[in-house]
Symmetry: D2
Subunit: 370 residues, 4 copies
């Protein structure tokens, strides 16, 4: 196995998940290229040391530009806070590195466009980490749709529901402030809902959105501070294929801890999914005898289901972090074969464009064409 050297920028929650993927990938998915976890980069020295040790990186570095410029690094994996993504990705592209970038690709569509231009110009491989495409159930759902098994699609419901800030006593954090986070529920989790919709149901033509901040002021160490992002986003959509979309992203959906859900209604059948039961895909087949129809729960853990066969014997359930292992495996395979990874940065841009249209519609109170 040839080695491919990885440099990671960032060491937070996502850094932990991506590190796990690099460590685990070749223990389950054989391939020609073996990733070597060379260097992890962050600003806080002590935490960085700790992260390197715990996650399994060989070296540390506090200046991300040095990592990007290292000759011995092949892949840059960007797991930093959102507002750094664009700049770092552009620099990595300029240095000729292949790039994995956590979503969002950038904090605005125009910035995202620059990133896309940079990688296209550099001719490097790139992937934006919409990891949920690699849930086996979702990859299988895509096969359903592509094979035309649902017939013409009429309706798409996408809702990513969480409830972690419903408590008014929760203090203000950077995720509730526009200057750091870009947006709130819409960009953070709504972006996943939009990416899945584009993946499963194609392009969106126009949207009408509603953004709401239920709690406008929260405590900080130095007194009350303003919440400057949305707590909750909802929007209607028309898809290019003529179907209708209803979308929700919320941090106030009490009881829904991490429910990334969709439901697709087609002429010949329907599919339902909920990340809280990520090993399951519900299918309603309208083509059989009416007496025998009903939503069935497919446990997407058979040998021949996407990704599932690499892990354990049939029926042993997989967890959330496995999606990153699948993504890294596919990325490495593209390096081996020369194919372009998906979702690429263009897909990250496409999501950003929809999100901006939702924000504009919410501001103007009118539908917005994309």
């Amino acid at each position: 196995m040839a080695t491919v050297n990885v440099g990671m920028l960032g060491y937070g929650f996502m850094g932990k998940a991506h590190s796990n993927a690099f460590r685990q990938v070749r223990h389950f998915f054989p391939g020609k290229l073996a990733p070597r976890m060379r260097v992890i980069c962050g600003t806080h020295h002590q935490k960085l040391q700790q992260a390197a040790l715990q996650y399994g990186w060989e070296e540390t570095e506090t200046d991300w530009r040095k990592v990007v410029e290292r000759k011995d690094i092949d892949i840059i994996d960007i797991c930093t806070p959102n507002h750094l993504h664009a700049e770092q990705a552009i620099a990595a592209a300029a240095a000729g590195k292949h790039i994995i970038c956590e979503k969002p690709l950038a904090n605005s569509a125009s910035e995202a466009r620059q990133v896309v231009q940079a990688v296209e110009c550099a001719g490097v491989k790139h992937m934006v980490m919409f990891n949920y495409r690699r849930v086996p159930a979702i990859a299988y759902a895509r096969q359903f749709v592509e094979a035309g098994r649902l017939g013409r699609i009429h309706r798409y419901r996408g809702a990513y529901l969480q409830d972690w800030i419903v408590d008014p006593a929760l203090p203000l954090s950077w995720r509730m402030q526009k200057q750091y986070a870009g947006s709130g529920a819409l960009g953070d989790i709504g972006s996943h809902a939009v990416d899945l919709a584009l993946y499963l149901n194609g392009g969106i033509e126009s949207v009408a959105g509603l953004l709401t901040t239920f709690i406008q002021e929260r405590q900080t160490e130095s007194g009350p501070g303003e919440v400057t992002v949305d707590d909750d986003a909802a929007f209607l959509a028309r898809f290019r294929n003529g179907s209708v979309g209803v979308f929700e992203a919320s941090r106030f959906a009490t009881g829904r801890r991490n429910a990334n859900t969709f439901e697709i209604h087609g002429r010949d059948g329907s599919l339902r999914f909920d990340l809280e039961r990520l090993n399951e895909l519900e299918w309603y087949d309208r083509t059989g005898s009416p007496e025998d129809r009903g939503f069935r729960t497919i446990r997407v853990l058979e040998k021949t289901h996407p990704y599932a066969g690499a892990w354990w014997p049939v029926g042993h359930i997989l967890g959330w972090e496995h999606t990153f292992v699948h993504a890294v495996h596919d990325f490495l395979t593209c390096l081996e074969t020369g194919a372009m990874p998906a979702p690429g940065f263009q897909d990250g841009l496409a999501v950003q464009v929809v999100l901006e249209a939702v924000q504009e519609s919410a501001r103007s109170g009118a539908w917005r064409t994309i």
Copy 2:
């Protein structure tokens, strides 16, 4: 028991359900007034005879005005096609009859206003048959909300999903033609979703709507005919209490045969309901220990739950038609006590006003304030 004489206009699906309610009510819910099923009215003589016999009515009549004018009739129950509701209700009010009217109260808000004026002027009792308020689980949900057990409400999701016309080969029927049906999914089932929202979460301030007709032409006996109503309706809403609403009504939600659902997210808890499992109410209590939280399935069949005690010992499930029995019982109780039934015609009007705002928003592409 004193007797109260009932005349029913119409003998279709709803006539069957209302008739059952009149027959059954005193066998389960004792009261001072006993309904006597005196006369049923319809235009098709043979079917009318058949209906009278099967449903248990003493007499038949083909001219509804004669029924309304009969001195010996106390209650007029209107189960005719939608476009007749207003005229018949106004006539019944003028004749001093108490009135039960199937929803919609009228085919437009202005017509509905006239009906409300008529009953207010006549001083009769009136009820619009939003029967789902009488599902024990929903009546219990209302108690939850009223007692403040959910805390401040942030989000309301209402979706009434069906799939009975997803087949393109299904011929054109009156329910798909505006001149007869008024509207499509929006008025037919969306009206139920709106009524429940008003019942459980109070007034709606503004809406943004999307109406879609997926199949614009269907077969008739004399060739292709145009579908002139919506197949699918979706809208966003702002409630007066500051919460956000997402609504759907569809006849194209494949696999959802009759799913009248809601989900309410409050600061202190959430509730979920699906008519396809109407004996169950799901509750998430956010006030207890975090380790012990989870959606629980309350089977609303205990003696002390609304309506449930009158039927069978604990745990024996009820069906759809029971909701009408409950409604008729409550209506009769109001006749006994002099109280005004709920939902009254004002509630029917309130729903109509929301539906019209949705239609106007769908036409204009902009939010509509109510």
Copy 3:
């Protein structure tokens, strides 16, 4: 429609359910014979009057023998306490009446045999009220099995679980005393589980049982009294077809209010049912593509499902009491056609034989062949 006159013995919970069935049957299921509710019989005069009025009976009678001997009565419906069933059924047969009898047919197998002999000798129609055979989902399950759609059956799980006596403070009632009730959970609800097993999976060859009384003493008005029946019954079984059975009947299954459940595992598929969701049947089809398999929830409410079409349009759920309406309809149809109703008294006897074998096995600690 010709009239057939009914006399009912008993007016308790079951009397209420059977009365409802006689009142409702012809409003939903047309037929040539219309039941007329002539006389209801009970010992407590005042309660009897009340029951007659509420349930809709024309006359009352306190001496059951007089009812049985009335020339103008065609059907005797026995809803009295268990220990009276045999004697009353034998008398009714002797008087040439058709008989519906609540389960159990008798309090012992030998008594049940006498009842069977009596009706066979008299040549009357007879039905034991194992009403759950008339749940549409269960009737449909039977069609599955009969058509061989599950292939060879390997396993049958039957469990009727309740929890109404788990509270030690609940006082002693006649249902916990052998002299009145015959047995406890085994006979009361285990009998239903056994009947469904015989209906769906054929004869039982041998059993090994365990009967348990968790709380042996409960309060009465005059001090502590002994519980002399089982609180809980469990048994293993071998079926004639080579399959294995696991059975449970319990009044101590906390949280299971009224869960009459079964699960059948066959070579080609499986079925699951729970009375708490009686409109649903879960089917796993093992014959399709492995990637697409999963338990599906069939909502047994389509026009062509057993019984369902007579009620409401597709998707409107039915309740518990509907099973009795179906049973009475089938009984009346047999009177019209001359066919023998099922389950007949022989079926009641067959259940009794299994229950006695379980009791004997529990006593002896060894398997018991039937």
Copy 4:
């Protein structure tokens, strides 16, 4: 961190799962001792090389005795076929190694007793890999029971249901032959069900069992061969605490791919679990208001739930293999603290004793006291 050197015997399915645990444990669960994966042992040279490479072991060895005798090895992890467990464990104990042993500890109770004696005599640490005790939901269930939150336990239902050999065309394998496998469903998966019962509900007093082989002959490469183990096991049990047990283990439960389930009914509440949704625990609380009771689905993914906090933010689901990571973490912690791991080999023996009693009861047709 000090290093502790591990030698693993075996490289099959379980070897893969245990290897993953050693690789992953310190990346998520910090501790003083770091496992070093020194040597993996197996008989088939080429497969062994492959396994070492894929699973991450430094060296290979084909003679297990050499591994056991290596001075530089601290822990022996036994993942070989069942019939080798006892001999290897005894040798490892004699060499003073700490031992992790896959279940079953031995193929008979008497052998298991020798293994227990060996480790007790040697004074080494030992753990039998009943990994399901480390499912967070099950560890949390144990806390429920220990804290007395269910009150007196009345009933325990344990069923481990699979369906992987329901197809008669499946060829004979070593798992269906007594000389290699010891027993069939009973020992393979029934052992897990028994261990969980002992863990959650204490000792078993007596059992009555039924073992069945549905398909007695299967194809081998050289013609038909006899199946000499059970396809299906069921047994009744009385627990020491007075509760009743119903157990099932089957490889013929069509549609149940890997359903390790239990349900515990106590006076004050109930718990339910299914491995197919291993992140969830269902709890019914009987102590609250009757109107508000219902089974709730606790997602055992909160920071304060057992093990969950070490992985990802709240609500991100875990997979099957995580249970082994938890077990290895706990084992290493015991090496650090000097405490004895649980379940120890005594627990492995206790399970074996119950399984043998079930087998004897199945042979004799009578209850068997333990």
